[in-house]
């Protein structure tokens, strides 16, 4: 909302600087986004009249002119092509400044003295929207009867300050000059003077000239009409145009400008119909018929339905109520009789209609917040007054006012002690009452209540009154306290939250950095990760109004996102990346969605660069160790189409599958334009939480020495190290302390199809020093077992 200060000053006194004004209003609840001193950058630019024009002696394209700038005549050399003698033009004098910081100094052009510059609209920082008749490129030829030497800022209406407010949706009353004047007066404790409205009504009576009928009083609360005859459509006067322009509204003609002027001043949108084009001179406020069509003022054909309210005549819709007028009853240059509309509609209905038709207008934006029916008459009378003031027509006697149910005023309990209790303040009842008085909130002391004015739909309960008190008492005068003795709780992280924190810390210690990726993605990613057509993961939560296909489904797997991040880094020539993310996948329990999906927490790991599978599995093993999870294993997976068939494992935690990790299938990596080899793991967090042991039990340190034996063997290539270890563990018995794999070798000196595996095995007894013999016996059993079960040959 743009507020020209001059306009505001018609209704309340402002003595402070724009900066102080802006700060004070912000602190009392009308947030100021900024303010602009119009024409601030323009200095020493005046109206000039061209007296003579001659050719430049040395340059074909230049003209030498003599220009009357008020108190003197100056010579200006110009390249302009659109000027003639007697034209009025803006002249930037010697030492002047223009928007954008341009400074004008006198000088010589091809040896001829030039003491100023003629300006175009662009050079003055205005646009063709503001001055439709101005030349786009040439010099700005001024219109009207202007005196040379007049400051151009006055001519352009640039001697005002415009405050830009951000008004919250609960305060429709503040979307108006008068509403903000009331707030200003309450803030500075000055008087608020409402406009004095007097209408002469020199025409005949409205009776019998038009009728208004509200068919749906739930959607239209009040509809008032006034008739103006002998209308003369012409431009509105400069003062009105200036105020409109300063408010960001383009002047059109006197009638349209009046409706806009009243809308800005009263916050009440208005409409003007050409009465001769309303069949039967009749207004019917009704729901549209399904399939009804209408062409709106913007030239668009609109398909209406029964959820929408229209303003119709005896036969057809003439306006979409509260949104936009129709072309069939539009004001034209030939219009002789108009019907002004001032009405209030159901805000929700206007909002939904505007949304459905895809045309949110200035009017609909105001109606949807819920306007005050009590404001309707003042607004239409103000419009009539302006018609008379501008000589735009003859106002007929009387108002056609259809107001089926008078707006009820809300009564709210008022208990100063309770307000202070909520605020933690000590504001006197007297001060509260004086604040209410300035806001036109009536206090009924006997009843202990207040009555909220109808223009304040936001005031409903005591908390609302507390806010009114607080914002004028001063939010920052409320004394800070710290819940002394109240809400005493222990709080803290839940077990799951602690585990998640530990997971993050552990992976960071393992050299992995944390990433954040979006939780929605494109349905196309499934093909890119070779996901089978019948995979359950293709059943997703679909966003009905996404930002585009790429962000249209909630992810059911994090593989594509991790790969994308790896690819981004790779393509930016980052040598190596080791990453993790803790996030969610969103798994529908039914499709179409009838209940909320299962949001499964997952840990995703990803790496490329100087890494291999064992860097990835190593991080997972370190994590298991930190979480105290002993019951876990990795088992080969050969048939996951997203992964390398020979370099992928599933993670089994306590007998249940809890994730997958491996080298990404090269065909997948290729589709992401990622590095040749990428390693990704996806692990469910819930089994980690469920199986973690955060408080390990202490075991005494060994008192007796260990005996260590090394063993190297040849086995078939396909034998897993895990199987070998299982046999060793089984055969070694109780004295086994630790098995350490120290070599796996294929190649020279190892027959084809075999591999050499070497272990260091430690034995220890808790209660005595083991003898060589005991260790030897255990080793014999191990060797025998390995050869029987796995065909291992000792080396």
């Amino acid at each position: 909302m743009k507020l020209p200060l001059k306009w505001l000053k018609d209704y309340t006194d402002i003595k402070v600087s724009p900066k102080e004004y802006a700060d004070a209003l912000t602190m009392s609840g009308s947030k100021v986004e900024g303010y602009e001193k119009l024409g601030e950058e323009i200095d020493k630019v005046v109206v000039g009249r061209i007296l003579t024009i001659e050719k430049h002696p040395d340059a074909d394209r230049l003209l030498v002119t003599q220009v009357d700038v008020g108190n003197e005549t100056i010579q200006i050399v110009t390249g302009a092509t659109n000027i003639k003698v007697d034209d009025l033009i803006p002249v930037a004098l010697d030492g002047s400044s223009l928007p954008g910081g341009m400074k004008i100094k006198k000088g010589k052009l091809r040896a001829v003295e030039s003491n100023g510059m003629m300006c175009s609209i662009a050079e003055l920082g205005v646009t063709k929207d503001d001055f439709p008749n101005a030349a786009e490129d040439g010099i700005f030829i001024l219109e009207g009867n202007l005196t040379p030497g007049t400051d151009i800022k006055e001519v352009l209406g640039l001697n005002d300050t415009v405050i830009e407010f951000e008004i919250t949706s609960n305060r429709p009353d503040c979307f108006s000059i008068l509403g903000l004047a009331r707030e200003s007066a309450a803030t500075f404790k000055t008087d608020f003077i409402k406009p004095e409205i007097q209408v002469k009504e020199e025409g005949d009576s409205v009776d019998g000239q038009a009728t208004v009928q509200i068919e749906d009083s739930e959607l239209c609360y009040r509809y008032a009409g006034r008739i103006v005859k002998d209308v003369r459509i012409e431009p509105s006067p400069g003062w009105m145009q200036e105020r409109l322009k300063a408010s960001g509204v383009r002047p059109v003609n006197n009638i349209v400008d009046i409706t806009n002027y009243v809308m800005l001043e009263y916050g009440q949108p208005m409409h003007a119909f050409d009465l001769e084009n309303l069949n039967g001179h009749k207004i019917v406020v009704r729901r549209a018929k399904n399939g009804e069509k209408m062409k709106t003022l913007d030239g668009q054909d609109r398909d209406l339905d029964a959820s929408m309210l229209v303003i119709a005549d005896a036969q057809r819709a003439a306006a979409v109520a509260g949104v936009m007028g129709g072309e069939n009853s539009e004001i034209t240059a030939d219009t002789k009789t108009i019907l002004f509309e001032s009405a209030t509609f159901n805000g929700i209905s206007v909002r939904l209609t505007a949304k459905k038709l895809g045309m949110r207008t200035e009017a609909s934006g105001r109606f949807e917040k819920g306007l005050d029916p009590e404001n309707v008459l003042d607004a239409i009378n103000r419009a009539a007054q302006l018609v008379e003031k501008l000589g735009a027509g003859v106002v007929c006697k009387g108002v056609i006012d259809c107001y089926p149910v008078k707006a009820a005023k809300k009564t709210i309990e008022f208990n100063p002690a309770r307000i202070n209790a909520l605020l933690g303040s000590d504001v006197s009842a007297e001060e509260m009452k004086s604040i209410f008085a300035r806001l036109e909130i009536e206090v009924n002391e006997a009843e202990g209540t207040v009555i909220a004015p109808t223009f304040r739909p936001d005031l409903e309960c005591e908390a609302d009154l507390a806010e009114e008190v607080a914002r004028f008492y001063g939010y920052n005068r409320i004394k800070p306290t710290l819940l002394e003795g109240k809400a005493t709780t222990i709080g803290g992280l839940t077990y799951e939250q602690k585990i998640k924190q530990l997971i993050g810390r552990t992976l960071q210690a393992c050299g992995l950095s944390e990433i954040y990726t979006y939780s929605f993605t494109s349905p196309k990613v499934f093909d890119r990760i070779n996901l089978p057509k019948d995979s359950e993961l293709r059943g997703t939560v679909v966003i009905s109004n996404p930002l585009g296909e790429d962000y249209s489904i909630m992810r059911t797997t994090t593989l594509p996102d991790m790969l994308q991040v790896l690819a981004t880094n790779y393509n930016r020539r980052v040598e190596e990346a080791r990453l993790f993310e803790m996030s969610y996948v969103y798994l529908p329990k039914s499709l179409p969605l009838t209940e909320l999906p299962y949001e499964k927490p997952v840990l995703t790991l990803g790496m490329y660069g100087d890494v291999d599978f064992y860097d990835l599995s190593g991080a997972v093993e370190e994590l298991m160790s930190k979480l105290g999870i002993k019951e876990y294993s990795l088992e080969p997976v050969h048939d996951n189409p997203s992964f390398h068939p020979g370099r992928t494992a599933k993670l089994i935690v306590n007998g249940k599958e809890a994730g997958i990790l491996g080298e990404v299938h090269p065909s997948v990596s290729e589709k992401f334009e990622a590095a040749q080899r990428n390693y990704v793991g996806m692990i469910d967090i819930e089994p980690l939480v469920g199986n973690a042991v955060l408080k390990p039990e202490y075991k005494p340190l060994p008192k007796y020495p260990a005996v260590t034996r090394d063993i190297a063997m040849l086995v078939d290539e396909g034998v897993l190290v895990k199987e070998i270890e299982r046999v060793i563990t089984e055969k070694a018995g109780k004295i086994l302390e630790e098995i350490k794999l120290f070599d796996v070798y294929k190649g020279k000196q190892v027959p084809e199809g075999k591999k050499s595996v070497a272990y260091s095995i430690a034995f220890r007894a808790a209660d005595r020093t083991l003898t060589d013999e005991e260790a030897g016996k255990a080793m014999e059993k191990i060797v025998k077992g390995l050869s029987e079960k796995l065909g291992a040959q000792l080396r």
Binding site: T168, A463, G491, G492, T517
Partner: protein, 339 residues
């Protein structure tokens, strides 16, 4: 013999003083003390002494022996020191060569900031509540006093799944879920991911993170809100941080406020970071609207509460001077390594 012994002693002393290496030492040890050494040779002649002379000479011989032994030991030590000194000189390394680092991974800046926020409130006895991101319209809007058709819904362009299910646009939904299930006193923060239909640019992201807080008990005042936020701001942005509340409107709080903190760069004098305002808007807050309490079955005549919320992205961007929100979700290693 006495003389012989004294000569050995003098000779040994002289030789030992000129020792250059441990090999020299060894040969001297053999020469004087070895089985075929000089002292042994002298002692062999002890048989020809009288019983009076024998103890005297014996004593003297022992003295000489221990003198030589001592000298040998001393020599060995000196040599050892010299050799160590020499070795140390050759073992010179360039200590400015980069060390063997175990590169640790980094916490994402969003986690750094939300962890800091969590730490402050956990230390004040708040619990951390979480809830679904794909949420019922009821919890995201309806229960928060934002009924269907309300213009406030437009302000937060929401992603919908269907008429009843949406992507939550605020973590306040979690507060409702907690209040429905728990009797006051309630003291929680709800950090989490939220969604709004904003196109991606330097200051917007359709996916972002919030931390909201809620306290409900008997007699909670707006003063308690101000005090809590002041403490929070000081812990997060530094001891000297001030806060300022500006009246605002939120559907689920009344009175409502926007909260500014004094600029962390200039301390309030005005600079580029705070656009010369001296203040930076960081929080929304207010007293829980009585309708919201009633919606959760909490008697608003008995209980009151306050709520607040802040955006993690904006806080992180301010804290680390990050000028483009997209960096937070691109995950370029060169960015991540900086934290």
């Amino acid at each position: 013999m006495k003389e012989q012994l004294n000569n050995i002693r003098l000779e040994a002393e002289k030789c030992l003083n000129e020792v250059k290496s441990s090999a020299d030492l060894e040969s001297l040890r053999l020469r004087f003390l070895g089985k075929k050494g000089e002292l042994t040779a002298v002692l062999r002649g002890m048989g020809g002494l009288t019983s009076d002379e024998r103890p005297i000479i014996g004593q003297l011989a022992n003295d000489v022996r221990s003198f030589i032994e001592g000298k040998l030991e001393e020599g060995a030590k000196i040599l050892q020191n010299k050799e160590q000194e020499l070795r140390l000189k050759t073992e010179y390394i360039d200590v400015t060569i980069p060390g063997k680092r175990r590169f640790i991974g980094k916490k994402h800046p969003l986690t750094i900031v939300s962890d800091e926020i969590k730490d402050v409130f956990v230390s004040l006895g708040y619990e951390i509540a979480e809830g679904p991101e794909v949420e019922l319209d009821y919890y995201n809007f309806e229960a928060l006093n934002i009924p269907a058709g309300h213009p406030a819904r437009d302000a937060q362009d929401t992603f919908y799944i269907n008429d009843e299910i949406l992507l939550r646009s605020q973590t306040s939904s979690v507060q409702i879920r907690v209040m429905e299930n728990k009797k006051p006193p309630i003291k929680l923060i709800s950090p989490g991911r939220v969604y709004r239909s904003d196109s991606v640019d330097a200051t917007h992201s359709p996916v972002f993170h919030q931390v909201e807080g809620l306290v409900v008990d008997k007699g909670i005042t707006m003063g308690d809100l101000v005090g809590t936020l002041q403490l929070f701001a000081r812990r997060l942005f530094g001891e000297d941080t001030k806060i300022r509340l500006r009246p605002h409107h939120f559907q689920f709080t009344e009175p409502s406020a926007e909260v500014d903190v004094s600029c962390w760069t200039c301390g309030g004098k005005g600079c580029r970071v705070c656009k010369n305002e001296g203040w930076i808007e960081i929080l929304g807050a207010g007293m829980v609207h009585p309708k919201v309490l009633e919606n959760c079955g909490i008697d608003s005549k008995v209980y009151s509460g306050f709520a607040f919320g802040l955006g993690v992205e904006r806080t992180a961007m301010g804290r680390f001077n990050i000028d483009d929100m997209r960096l937070l979700f691109e995950n370029d290693m060169r960015f991540l390594r900086q934290f």
